[in-house]
């Protein structure tokens, strides 16, 4: 029972972090049709910016400034890189973001070196929040969960309840019509890409000190966000949310159970389970849990 409750809690926490990571990716895809391979690199940039800024002016300003900085870089990338690649089709876009991921990884290594930086959880959020059986639940994890849920609510409200959201959705489904009505569609795209990058950056600021901030962090999370987005359905925000929680909980429980099948214990393969789920999903239901189009 004790293990069940802590595992459930751990699973939900991990799932919510995955959602923070994948929301920006699914946003960019649903709005622009661009599968952004450099998404995890923006996450890494967020962590490094968060580290650099928090050592100067503290964690809370960094929480705002670092995502803004990452978002600006994202917007510039869209304006001067992706937009040109867009003219020659989706394959160029894909290759462009693919190359960008390597450029960012190498740039980070040149600036901050290849060893992890000492990015620490702020003192005000350090320490236990409550004790469950023998285990403590850290305040910082609760903070992560709060930000993640806040992100979902804000995104959902922003896209469905505000004028900006209306224009964005209009530019997505009927770009010609939106343009004819006087809206600057390329600028909307730039804002969406920048916004998606900023979300990844925010996840980086929060995830970087919860785990490790090193140049390998983009690579280690780069694949799992695609799993979340594919399982949830490309372009579906709620789908990504459900899939994140699902994968987080499944992975955590796979570690917790002591069950062996033909000498192969489940916990040994736990980190690979999300990929099994993705492959199965692509075979059985290619559009994902809540997707609107085929992947």
């Amino acid at each position: 029972m004790e293990l069940f409750v802590t595992s459930l809690l751990n699973g939900v926490t991990y799932g919510l972090l995955l959602f923070m990571l994948s929301s920006g990716l699914t946003l960019i895809f649903s709005m622009m049709g661009v599968l952004n391979f450099a998404h995890a690199s923006f996450y890494m940039l967020g962590a490094y910016f968060g580290y650099a800024i928090s050592t100067k002016v503290g964690f809370y300003p960094a929480l705002v400034l670092a995502p803004l900085a990452v978002g600006s870089i994202g917007a510039l990338v869209e304006r001067y890189g992706l937009r040109r690649a867009h003219a020659t089709g989706h394959v160029s876009e894909l290759l462009f973001t693919f190359g960008l991921a390597f450029v960012i990884a190498e740039a980070v290594r040149l600036v901050w070196g290849s060893t992890p930086v000492p990015y620490k959880v702020p003192v005000s959020l350090d320490g236990p929040l409550f004790t469950l059986y023998d285990a403590t639940f850290p305040t910082y994890k609760a903070f992560m969960m709060l930000v993640s849920v806040g992100m979902l609510v804000a995104l959902y409200a922003g896209l469905t309840r505000t004028r900006v959201g209306l224009v964005i959705r209009a530019a997505l489904t009927r770009p010609d019509m939106a343009e004819a009505l006087g809206h600057d569609v390329p600028r909307v795209f730039m804002l969406v890409f920048g916004g998606g990058a900023a979300l990844a950056g925010l996840a980086g600021v929060i995830g970087g000190n919860a785990f490790v901030t090193d140049p390998g962090m983009a690579e280690s999370l780069g694949t799992i966000v695609f799993v979340v987005v594919v399982v949830g359905g490309l372009g579906s925000l709620t789908g990504a949310f459900v899939a994140s929680l699902f994968i987080g909980i499944v992975q955590t429980f796979a570690v917790a159970v002591d069950y062996s099948w033909h000498g192969m214990s489940i916990s040994r393969v736990a980190p690979v389970i999300p990929y099994f789920i993705m492959v199965a999903m692509l075979i059985v239901r290619p559009r994902g849990l809540m997707g609107t189009r085929e992947t």
């Binding site: 004790e2 293990l3 802590t6 595992s7 751990n10 699973g11 926490t13 991990y14 972090l17 390597f102 990884a105 190498e106 290594r109 040149l110 290849s114 060893t115 992890p116 000492p118 620490k120 236990p128 004790t131 023998d134 285990a135 403590t136 639940f137 850290p138 910082y140 994890k141 785990f211 490790v212 090193d214 140049p215 390998g216 690579e219 280690s220 999370l221 780069g222 694949t223 992975q251 955590t252 570690v255 917790a256 214990s265 916990s267 040994r268 736990a270 980190p271 690979v272």
Partner: protein, 413 residues
């Protein structure tokens, strides 16, 4: 996922070009990860190797020739390593250095054995500074392979000898990476604890994939539920940092007995959460050195920064023995040098060491240390930190760490 790093590749290619140009030098190829998730560890090793070679060169080199290091990036992949080995051989390299990953070392030993049999004029000697799978100096031993780190059984022997006296240790949990080295650690821990502490129960034996887990909270929850008071782990790099971090978050009370808590990036990640709880078995204990043996460390810190720690002492030992053996054999011919290296005895900074002739395993003093706040102002802090250090719990002389070998060494006639 393979991360390519064009800049580094270009840089390596350039270094290679220069190395080829100066053909009178003794070239030593360094085959280790210089890109990808484990690049930090690989890069640290390269610094130490270059520094050790510089020290020899500053004294006039070996037989009037300079040692030149040729860095080759293997991305921690066995396939890339074989390609890089061939590239090194084609450049006329006769000495290679590698250490990260017993998976890689095993492949290199096989490839070198084959190469040296087919092309005796292109023979290669393998200086292994950190791959610790015991097989390499037992059933898989080779005349061309020399290991300068203590193998994982020797380290476990030292660790369990220390644990024998620790009455606190009652319930032990084993958490290791799922590859040859992690399996060896788990096996040795079970065998040796059964012999030395039959009263101890093993409450968990878990393997997780190498360098894939980001959130160790589920594993820690399981350790907690098992009631373990002690965790033994061979984890290294981010796998150790994240594990200790998760343990701190969940307030896990257990002590950690590790192999690699001193390795680059780990001490800063440990921080306060590791104090008095994280132990390490190692051949490196700079604070135990006499004042006249620390010049090397101080020179290293001068070059790479005050918080850098040249903890890969085996690199220093390897280059020293190589240089001494070339001088002794009065030749750079790999077969002659390898013969001269066999059975060599000398004093390194920590005491008497011996390159055991029967299996090419270096026998050297080992320490069990505990991560601690540097309140007593010890001279040397843990790598990357200013206020933490490793305190000595116990020291084992070389002969006490030696283990019998099953090696039947095949020597070239």
């Amino acid at each position: 996922m393979i991360v390519r790093s064009p800049m580094r590749a270009a840089c390596c290619a350039l270094v290679t070009l220069f190395a080829t140009a100066a053909s009178a030098d003794i070239k030593i190829a360094y085959i280790d990860p210089l890109s990808g998730p484990m690049a930090a560890t690989g890069e640290h090793g390269l610094h130490e190797l270059e520094f050790a070679a510089e020290q020899v060169n500053a004294k006039g080199g070996v037989l009037g020739q300079k040692l030149v290091i040729v860095p080759l990036d293997n991305k921690l992949s066995t396939q890339e390593s074989q390609i890089q080995l061939q590239a090194a051989i084609d450049q006329g390299v006769h000495y290679i250095v590698q250490g990260n990953g017993s998976s890689v070392a095993g492949v290199l030993i096989d490839a070198i054995n084959k190469n040296n049999e087919r092309n005796p004029d292109k023979a290669v000697v393998f200086l292994n500074y950190a791959a610790v799978d015991p097989d390499f100096t037992n059933d898989k031993c080779s005349f061309w392979h020399f290991r300068f780190d203590a193998n994982s059984d020797m380290k476990m022997e030292a660790l369990t000898s220390y644990m024998k006296e620790q009455k606190k240790v009652q319930k032990v949990y084993l958490l290791n990476q799922d590859y040859s080295f992690g399996h060896q650690v788990a096996r040795a821990a079970k065998e040796m604890l059964a012999a030395k502490r039959p009263d101890v129960t093993i409450v968990g034996d878990e393997l997780h994939p190498l360098a894939k887990v980001r959130d160790f909270a589920p594993y820690v929850a399981k350790i907690q539920a098992s009631g373990a008071d002690t965790v033994i782990t061979g984890n290294w790099g981010s796998d150790l940092q994240l594990l200790v971090k998760a343990a701190k978050d969940a307030n896990l009370k257990a002590d950690f007995y590790t192999y690699y808590a001193g390795v680059v990036g780990t001490p800063p990640a440990l921080g306060d959460s590791g104090v008095d709880r994280v132990k390490v078995v190692t051949y490196w204990n700079p604070n135990s050195l006499a004042a006249n043996r620390t010049a090397y460390i101080d020179a290293y810190k001068k070059k790479y920064g005050a918080m850098a720690d040249p903890y890969t002492g085996s690199m220093h030992n390897a280059i020293d023995l190589l240089a001494a053996s070339m001088t002794k054999a009065n030749s750079t011919d790999p077969a002659k040098v390898a013969k001269a290296m066999e059975g060599a005895k000398w004093d390194n900074a920590f005491g008497a060491v011996e390159m055991r002739a029967t299996d090419h395993q270096l026998i050297q003093p080992l320490f069990v240390l505990t991560f601690a706040k540097n309140d007593a102002k010890a001279r040397y802090t843990a790598d990357g930190t200013g206020d933490y250090t490793f305190k000595q719990d116990v020291r084992f002389e070389g002969p006490a760490t030696a283990r019998p070998t099953t090696c039947k060494m095949q020597r070239p006639s």
